[in-house]
Structure formats: C-alpha cells, structure tokens
C-alpha cells in the first residue's frame, strides 16, 4: 500500500521568486524548514493540491476537483515567465499513483475529473522549486477550483483530503507519498487592496490558529465564500489547506507559521503523516 510520509502546506506567491530583501528572511526560513523536513521523509511521489490561475483550467470547462495522471507535467505558462520571471520546467508525473487517487476517490464518492495532459502553473511549480529544488520526485497534481465561483464548500475540501488519505492507504501501489497543499492566507490581487501587504492580518492569525490547533469545526463554520472574499479577493486558496487538514485527519499541525513580509503573509504548515 501507499504510505503517507509527510503533509505540508505552503504559499505559492509567485512574486517571491525574484523578490529580495531582509523582510523576506522568515519566508525563506519557512521554505527551508519544510525542504529539510520533506527531504527527511524520503518520498517516492508528491501529491500537490493546488489551484490553477485560469491558465489551463478556465471557464470553458471548470472542474471542481481534478486529478492529473500524466507521466509528464509541463509547468508554467509563457505569461508567468513574463510576469514573475518563473522558469519553465517539465516535471515527471506519477500517472500510476494518479490513477489510484482517481479510482479511489470515485469509489468513495468524490467524483474527480481527470486529465492525462495536465499542464501546471506556478501554484504547483513554485512550492516544488523551494521544497524539492532538484524536481526529482514524481508529481501527482490535484487541481481544486478556488477561482471561479461558485466554489465547492469548505467542508467538501476537507472531505476530499480525508478521501485522498483513504485512497492512498488502500492502494496496492507501493509508494512513500508526501502531500503538499499550495495556497494562501489573506491575499488580494486585482482589487482595492492590491499589493499592499496582507489585506487582513486578523484573518491570517485566525487561520494559522485553526491549523495549529486542528480546529476543523471552527474553520468550516467560518470559511464561506463571502468571508474569504472579505479577507482578500483571492484568499479562497486557503481552502487547499482544508484538504491537507483532511489528509491529516483533523489533527493539530506539527508546526504552523504565517511569515510576515511586504507581501501577503506566507503560510508554512506541517502535519504529522
């Protein structure tokens, strides 16, 4: 069976890639801490739960949750090279494990969409550039719709996490699997609070506390679309951490930090596998 060997949550803020400055010391340290932890877990595959930014997945066909089961995952699009200076990379995909997640999800009532031609954007690549800089570990990307409302409910994100764990643990495929949830705390892009640091430090602190204490009920009770928009107009990608909380069985995190900088506060989370 597959074994979960680590569960992590990080920012994927693409502006961090070429940003420099002393205010980013805590952010760099957060990435480095998780990199060391992930390396020690020695995963054979990494499942990255992330939200594409209307690049591959768009309004013409918008899945709620989708598993990428391709042997090769090209990552980043031309506009991300232009806007953020991000590199283009071709990631190895773990198609066999992807099929296990797809089938295991469907057996348990999560009807994932699936793609044999998944192209990832920075939501997948940026965490990997910091956590597995050699990009040597094969990837299964899991897309979640946090961009095009109506979004699935927070409870559904948590349930998807629970089902990912069950599907992995019941799979006959031998793998050591790390799960990385890629998301945000309070974040605003393209709105009145655009690029002015965290749009809601109060939300950041509250959200880190839900993760730290394993307060699933508190998080689910509050994380409506409206509440997340109030925190910042693209804060909905915090919901990907609900998936990680589901994978971790609702337990308190091993570590939970919001690293403050001139950008949106960067989340760095780790849960016991």
């Amino acid at each position: 069976m597959a074994e979960i060997v680590g569960v992590y949550g990080t920012t994927h803020n693409p502006l961090l890639w070429r940003a420099r400055g002393d205010d980013l010391a805590a952010t760099r340290a957060g990435f480095e801490r998780l990199r060391v932890r992930l390396a020690a877990a020695r995963p054979d595959a990494v499942v990255v739960v992330a939200t594409d930014h209307l690049t591959q997945w768009f309004y013409d066909t918008m899945p709620a949750f989708l598993v990428g089961k391709a042997p090769l995952v090209p990552a980043t699009f031309w506009n991300e090279e232009r806007e953020f200076g991000l590199p283009y990379r071709e990631l190895r995909g773990d198609a066999e494990l992807g099929r296990e997640l797809l089938g295991g999800g469907i057996e348990r009532g999560v009807d994932f969409a699936a793609s044999d031609a998944f192209r990832a954007d920075h939501s997948v690549l940026l965490p990997l550039l910091y956590l597995t800089p050699e990009l040597e570990v094969p990837v299964v990307p899991v897309f979640t719709n946090c961009m095009a409302p109506p979004l699935p409910s927070a409870a559904r994100f948590f349930r998807v996490g629970e089902v990912l764990r069950e599907a992995l643990e019941d799979s006959p495929v031998e793998r050591r699997v790390a799960v990385i949830a890629s998301g945000h705390l309070a974040t605003e892009v393209g709105g009145p609070r655009h690029f002015a640091g965290s749009p809601s430090r109060a939300f950041d602190e509250r959200a880190v506390e839900w993760v730290a204490s394993g307060d699933v009920d508190g998080a689910l009770g509050e994380l409506t679309y409206k509440r997340l928009t109030e925190a910042g107009n693209v804060s909905h990608q915090f919901l990907n951490f609900l998936v990680a909380m589901g994978v971790a069985g609702g337990k308190p995190a091993l570590s939970a930090e919001g690293a403050v900088s001139r950008f949106a506060t960067s989340p760095f989370f780790e849960w016991a596998p």
Binding site: H53, L54, T55, F58, Y59, D60, F77, W78, N79, R82, E83, M147, A148, P149, P150, V189, G190, G191, P192, R193, H194, F195, A196, T229, N233, V234
Partner: protein, 100 residues
C-alpha cells in the same frame, strides 16, 4: 453582460505573445475584430480603451484583470504607478460579482 467573453479575451491576450503584440499594437482594432466569445458593446469599448477600471466594475475576474492590465500598460506606465492607479480605479467599485 458577458463576463465569460471578457475573461476569455483577457486570457488570450495575456497568454499568447502574438495576441499581446497585436492587441497592444492597436487595441481598438483588436477589440473590434475579436470573435472569440460574446461581448456587449460596453465591454468591447472598455477592451478597446484598455479601461481596467470599467472592466473591474463589470465583474472581470480580478486575478486575470491584473495580469492583463500589467501586460498591456507596462512599460507605458511604470509598474508602481500602475499599481496605484489600478487600486484607485478598483476602489470605486468595491467587490463586484464576478460569477459568469
């Protein structure tokens, strides 16, 4: 109102070097001739003018709108200046409905 058409337009310009060059070369002509999706007259006019404030107010997706705005206004306007102008233009409208 066709937010879908506006978002599809912005995505195409943002993601394709050829479309970006064509649009920034002549925004009005590009917007007039574009047939990639439904657009109202008001939306087509805002795209012809590169009027990010109007597009924001009509419910264009804000993430896509910012990438598009940066692509089509920088370096004509410096990035810090554009960020400031964009914020002010968005603030007039608050948080419009972006559902399609």
């Amino acid at each position: 109102m066709s937010r879908y058409g506006v978002n599809a337009f912005m995505r195409e310009v943002n993601m394709s070097p050829a479309c970006l060059a064509a649009y920034t070369g002549d925004p009005a002509a590009y917007a007039r001739d574009w047939a990639g999706g439904p657009l109202t007259e008001q939306e087509r006019a805002a795209l012809a003018e590169r009027d990010y404030g109007a597009l924001y107010g009509m419910g264009a997706h804000p993430y896509l709108l910012w990438s598009f705005t940066e692509a089509v206004w920088v370096p004509e306007i410096s990035r810090p200046e554009l960020v400031e102008r964009f914020r002010q233009a968005a603030a007039v409208h608050g948080y419009p409905d972006i559902s399609t």
